[in-house]
Symmetry: C2
Amino acid sequence: MAALDLFGRRWSLRILWELRAGPLGFRPLQKRCDDMSSSVMRQRLTELLDAQVIHQLPDSRYELTPLGHEARHALDPLVRWAERWAATIDPQGADHTDDQSAGRVSPPDTVGDGAPERGSAD
Amino acid sequence: MAALDLFGRRWSLRILWELRAGPLGFRPLQKRCDDMSSSVMRQRLTELLDAQVIHQLPDSRYELTPLGHEARHALDPLVRWAERWAATIDPQGADHTDDQSAGRVSPPDTVGDGAPERGSAD
DNA sequence: GGTGACCGCTTCGGAAATCGAAACGGGGAG
DNA sequence: CTCCCCGTTTCGATTTCCGAAGCGGTCACC
């Protein structure tokens, strides 16, 4: 349950996700996370730090701990599900070249709607 | 990313989790989810309904769709990780037989810091 | 030495999400 | 009819999040 709460916050999962490839500094990480507010970012970072999911390198960059990497991998099935999910509910034109949605993605309406969103799992 | 947003909301994962054992009505479900606000509950329910993760039975109870069950199972590794995580950072109060804490759970503070709220493992 | 760019991080006012409790109409039991 | 539980909506109060500006610091460059 604690985990559900920790990861149920707005950018926690995203941060975990963006850190998967390697350590990142504060501002770079912020940019990767859709330019989220630095205030909230610091907050999430602190929570994650406290949960020992990430830690800070001597050069002050943030990096996943072994525990953090496990969490990120534990997330994999969910990512795979997300892809299937996207394919199920949004099977039509997956062409959103003109997409300009910022941070907010809404739950898809229904099959047959024309409201594309970003479904890239990177 | 859309999934990260859908599940990044406050009670989404919890609802998914509480529905794992079978269909539940509105108020029962609400009680199970730490008595969350009915307003937010309705909102989450709508989002989940819209995302075709849950659906409503003729007797108006809520139930996971096949897609929803997949999501719940996709969550399994995360749950397993959570247990390991709890054991890693909170190895002393190793008695999680009881559980009735309120809504907010924070990253455990066992090691080093004195963060406020309490966490419970399920 | 001065300037500008990036850095980690904090502060603050306003917007949005969440809460909490009350209330509606309806169903079933006593 | 009354009492209790139900699903659901509404509304004011609180919490969280956002967005932008600012602080002190480093480093390259001129």
